[in-house]
């Protein structure tokens, strides 16, 4: 209704001085109102509140940041190379950051070793960030270099430490997968692991190994791969040379897709000859032919959780939240897993 609300210019945002004048107090009182309104008398607080509302005041972050040396910008490092980085994780993290009054700046970190370190250094120099959340595994030197400046949380690292503990962790789902395959009569299974630089990949591999042993199955081999379907395809080609393997556990859905393709080209049917299970439950996975048995993840929540860890680390008394962030994972049974073919060689149980 009014282009110029009583004191504020047309486009120009109101300042604390204008709010102060309208409220009949000093600018510092307005500043205090924002910092901790409980320290003001109720009457004063009300006056300020009304004035702010009338002028539609919003603080100038540049000015505040200049004075306090605090910055409200966080850095999100996402993989540049991996095209299917789950953007939901990012949006979950961004939403959490925004709710806490921070801005999240996205940077794709790609390339390898030294050039990546250099890029990281340039970014960190470029502007002061309050902290960084990395969805990319950071090598030791990168991480140290970054951390000596600001708090850095690498998504998944924390869960990594909690590896396989209880139902909150990735681990229990991996265990459920192996148990599922064992129940279907599979005796010899293989694993296509993700890049071991990634915590999630290490976690899944380690739980796979333990679960196989625990269930008394034979480990038909582990092939390390990138996260891509192409890489899963190549890894599977190697693994399935061993015809006694009747099930493959892939560390994510893309790898599983690649594995199914490799099996298809060898003329082996899924799941009749070989079962394949994935991980992540991409929205398409239910519609593939065959549809994919996989582990459902709430990626958005995981992104939000990682951000909460970072926010906690930013506070002076910074302690990390104690619960792991992978709650909500669950095994989803679909067509790509089925009974082991014929009579599985039950006699070959001794090592």
């Amino acid at each position: 209704m009014k282009p110029t609300p009583a004191g504020a210019g047309p486009g120009r945002a109101a300042t604390i001085y204008e709010v102060a004048r309208l409220a009949g107090v000093s600018h510092q009182t307005v500043s205090r109102y924002m910092a901790d309104r409980s320290k003001l008398k109720a009457a004063t607080s009300d006056k300020v509140e009304r004035a702010m509302a009338e002028l539609n005041y919003t603080p100038n972050l540049a000015a505040r940041s200049l004075r306090t040396r605090a910055t409200y910008r966080l850095l999100a490092l996402v993989p540049g190379a991996s095209p299917f980085f789950p953007s939901r994780m990012l949006t979950g993290a961004a939403a959490t950051a925004q709710d806490a009054g921070y801005h999240l700046d996205v940077v794709a970190l790609e390339g390898s070793g030294p050039e990546r370190t250099e890029r990281l250094r340039r970014i960190l120099d470029g502007g002061p960030f309050a902290g960084a959340l990395s969805f990319v595994p950071l090598a030791g030197t990168d991480l140290l270099q970054a951390q000596e400046r600001i708090p850095v949380v690498v998504a998944g690292e924390y869960d990594d430490q909690m590896r396989g503990q209880g139902r909150m962790s990735d681990g229990s789902a991996a265990q459920a997968i192996v148990a599922h395959l064992a129940a279907l009569g599979h005796r010899r299974i293989a694993h296509i692991a993700g890049p071991q630089a990634w915590p999630a990949a290490r976690n899944r591999l380690s739980v796979y190994r333990r679960a196989v042993q625990h269930a008394g199955l034979e480990d038909g081999g582990v092939a390390e791969a990138e996260w891509s379907a192409a890489s899963g395809y190549a890894a599977a080609q190697t693994l399935i040379a061993d015809r006694s393997i009747t099930a493959i556990f892939a560390a994510n859905d893309q790898l599983a897709i690649g594995a199914i393709r490799a099996l298809h080209e060898e003329g082996r049917r899924v799941p009749d000859d070989v079962s394949v299970v994935g991980w992540d439950d991409h929205p398409e996975s239910a519609f593939l032919v065959p549809s994919l048995t996989t582990v459902h993840m709430d990626l958005e929540a995981q992104g939000g959780h990682a951000m909460k860890q970072l926010l906690a680390a930013l506070k002076p008394g910074g302690t990390l939240p104690t619960e792991a962030g992978t709650a909500g994972t669950r095994l989803v049974l679909r067509e790509s897993s089925g009974p082991a073919p014929r009579a599985p060689r039950e006699t070959r149980l001794e090592p």
Copy 2:
């Protein structure tokens, strides 16, 4: 005098005053050096340059922004609901923004109508953004409200205006798809369109219509869907009730996956009975069974291009780049498309 050696402290960044003192000039000269070094004498410029290098100076953006009222933050609006928003587009845009000295803040815009408008308003009020790049279609009111404050570019809108013009645009690839199907003997084809709020979806639909007519084919129907596989599945169920349709052109790969699933469940083979083509060429699409005929897109480049448009609009004389940003699209032929079954009804050419 201060605990910081030689002007620059360990944590504390150097200021123009420190640079000025070291260079033996005034702070304003240092400021001018950054603004336009050509206006300084070569000797002065050198001194400043050396001092900056020695102190490892980086400007304090908060201070600059406070004085100039300019802000170096851009807003990226990404869909919150659509989990498979191509994050490469985002990283492409982010990289371009960073090269230009801007920071890109990611916000997921989800929900519908009024609540979304409210959220957008809150974000825009939250802090001054220099501009916004939206990967989400914005409704008229949202857009107007946003644009009265800052320049807004909606990715794809521009290409939308250039619809189907020349080989740079989405259009030619859609035309190539239809021509490809016609060459395989298909006479009656259908289209699963994306949400018509999205420029890319409108574009593909409109070119589909034109190309079908131009190739003298019959339009077997258009079903509008969301971008998801689930939605493609539902849409295809409707379309394939018409058994005379021998090919489906889906507006993206997820839709195509859903369509293939629907056909599979009806006992119809791909491509023997029905051909299916997608769009986007996700990295997995080559490994599906059957692998997907699709249109390859350089999403990263498209994201970068959209950002360039925004950056151009930010400059005072702001004009948009003249070329469309979809160069690099190309048809990729794979297993999901093949010859029309048996003798296509060649006699039914008249309407």
